[in-house]
């Protein structure tokens, strides 16, 4: 090595002042915080707490206002039933929204698959389990189409799913002729299609298999998102796709799989919806895609991706159900129910933005 004095080989001259300064590296300040700050921090760490608090408060409020008609085991189980389909779609929607996408086609996929299941089992004479499996596969396939267009053709998810929403809707009309398959026909030919409408009674509560299915789907997705690499990758992609890519995640492959899983969940939802509605109804659930987004947003999942717990949308769907049921039972016009849900959605996004502003 040559003469070391020619170039500085230690800290720069101006940096010697640092020796006297604090040596800690940007630690957390333990400054006094207001209660408000602390609440913000707590919610930042536990984003699902907002919807949980809202749910508990709204149940309590309607319990007081509407009395036992509202606050009964039976009504609670009824609300579960009523939100089960939107809840399942919200689970599918959450996956996509976690990747900073959006899926406007979830409802259309579900209705189309229910029509396919019904047509195959009732008119084509296929064994019902096979018809159901084809419906599942169709759901996954529809999701794969969305995923392919988003990743490989590089179109924005909003545009892609706006398109496929219309495409699946048109296919639904073509296949069904807008005609329902009657409950009684299903009972005769393919009762298995209606299985999720059956229920178990626990005390006064009437819990349908559809409600249980919703809970199970959320539980599985919670496990997958939190305890498998795939789940971590979904969050990472939604957080910062480029960073995820540079971290070595195969983002396109993961994204396609996200849309596929979402489609599959819609396919499962299709089966459950036949049970819930009682018939194969091509006309039902026309607004289900937007309702699912509402549940996701109220559930505290950020539309910007990467943030929020999958359990949030379950709570979100229940909040919507509780509001509808409660407002109805205290005799509020439908109009004002819609009004209330609208504000709820906006407030939910507002709270999300506020929580995200938290500074370390």
């Amino acid at each position: 090595m040559s003469d070391a004095s020619q170039a500085p080989r230690g800290p720069q001259e101006f940096e010697t002042a640092l020796n006297k300064s604090d040596t800690r590296v940007a630690e957390f300040d333990v400054r006094e915080r207001t209660l408000f700050d602390r609440a913000q921090h707590f919610l930042h760490g536990n984003p699902t707490m907002v919807p949980v608090i809202v749910l508990v408060l709204s149940i309590a409020a309607f319990g007081i206002l509407a009395g036992t008609k509202f606050f009964s085991a039976f009504n609670m189980s009824l609300i579960m039933q009523q939100v089960s389909i939107i809840g399942i779609l919200a689970a599918a929607q959450s996956l996509v929204i976690l990747t900073a996408g959006i899926d406007l086609s979830v409802g259309a996929i579900m209705v189309l698959m229910s029509v396919i299941m019904g047509n195959l089992a009732v008119f084509a004479g296929l064994p019902t389990p096979l018809a159901i499996l084809i419906g599942f596969a169709g759901g996954a396939g529809a999701g794969a189409l969305n995923g392919f267009l988003v990743t490989k053709i590089k179109l924005p998810p909003f545009i892609v799913t706006l398109g496929t929403w219309n495409i699946f809707f048109a296919l639904n009309l073509w296949l069904s002729g807008a005609q329902s398959i009657r409950s009684q026909t299903l009972d005769e030919v393919a009762p298995l299609l209606k299985i999720f409408g059956d229920s178990v009674r626990i005390g006064n509560a009437q819990i349908t298999y559809g409600s249980i299915l919703m809970i199970v789907i959320f539980a599985i997705l919670w496990y997958v998102l939190n305890h498998t690499p795939w789940g971590r990758h979904v969050y990472a992609i939604g957080d910062d796709k480029e960073a995820a890519e540079l971290s070595g995640i195969r983002t396109d492959r993961t994204l396609i799989s996200v849309y596929m899983v979402a489609g599959l969940v819609c396919g499962i939802g299709a089966w459950a919806s036949i049970g819930r509605v009682g018939s194969v109804s091509p006309q039902s659930f026309q607004e289900a895609n937007l309702q699912s987004i509402t549940a996701v947003v109220i559930g505290g999942i950020s539309l910007f991706g990467g943030r929020g717990s999958i359990l949030g949308p379950l709570i979100g769907a229940l909040i919507v159900g509780v509001f509808n049921s409660g407002l109805r039972l205290i005799g509020v016009d439908v109009l004002w129910q819609v009004f209330a849900i609208g504000w709820l959605t906006i407030i939910a996004v507002g709270i999300d933005q506020w929580i995200r502003k938290v500074s370390a």
Partner: protein
């Protein structure tokens, strides 16, 4: 260093973007255990060079060798698989995920047993332990909670996490792109210590920086990139910072003796 084989080398790299030639038969050599700084004016092609070495772009011509064997990268993933880790300027961290999750992003550890294999269950505890260990090794354990989200960390702490990740997995080479550019004085100092720390553990480092004092402080050799190719290699002991800048901008002819490699 003569007599030693370069661990990572490149010959005649060419990369064109339409009519612009970003790399014009560029060469590159990195020797074991050294910190090689790469400097160059804006547009000199140094970032293309780094991207070529880290697999982020595909080269049109030329050859890259790792340990003397030719390698071809189609993605950053392939470069990583052979032991070249890159700390990008934007760090490539997911802000909302925890430190441990970020350290293992894309190469998670599975839980053992049937359950782990069947349900692809992550071994959270092990990943946390390893992450904590790696950070402690680099003296970064002022971070208390390995499960806190990266976005709650300061800039220097984030840089620390990214460097720790690269050091933990980079078995051959660590490339650092402007690691001090976004940092304050105090945090820059910490990161420079970290870089020296990584070298002392035997890993060679490619350091891209605009900050001459930092380059002159830590680099063993300086690769000066100009007009799409390697213009000169100098030792910081032999030249002043203003000389380096002069060579870099073409105001001074590169010294004959400097072309050591």
């Amino acid at each position: 260093m003569n007599g030693q084989e370069p661990i990572l080398s490149a010959r005649g790299l060419v990369k064109r973007y339409g009519r612009v030639t970003a790399l014009d038969h560029a060469d590159f050599d990195l020797y074991p255990g050294e910190i090689l700084a790469v400097i160059g004016d804006n547009g000199a092609g140094k970032s293309s060079l780094i991207k070529a070495l880290s697999g982020a772009i595909r080269i049109d011509e030329g050859e890259i060798r790792l340990d003397g064997k030719p390698v071809h990268f189609h993605s950053p993933l392939q470069a990583r698989e052979v032991g070249i880790e890159t700390v990008y300027q934007n760090l490539a961290l997911s802000p909302a995920l925890s430190i441990a999750d970020n350290m293992f992003l894309g190469r998670e550890i599975y839980a053992g047993g049937l359950f782990g294999r069947l349900f692809r269950k992550l071994d959270h505890k092990k990943m946390q332990d390893v992450a904590r260990q790696k950070l402690t090794d680099l003296g970064l354990m002022t971070i208390q909670n390995i499960n806190q989200a990266v976005e709650t960390l300061s800039g220097g702490q984030r840089q620390g996490v990214a460097v720790a990740r690269a050091a933990a997995f980079g078995s051959k080479v660590v490339i650092m792109d402007e690691p001090t550019a976004a940092l304050g004085v105090k945090e820059s100092r910490r990161v420079l210590e970290l870089i020296k720390d990584v070298r002392s553990r035997g890993l060679p480092i490619v350091l891209i920086s605009h900050n001459m004092p930092h380059v002159f402080e830590v680099a063993d050799r300086i690769h000066i990139h100009r007009l799409g190719r390697r213009h000169a290699i100098i030792r910081p002991q032999d030249f002043s910072m203003s000389d380096a800048v002069a060579i870099m901008t073409g105001a001074m002819e590169p010294p004959e003796t400097a072309e050591a490699a």
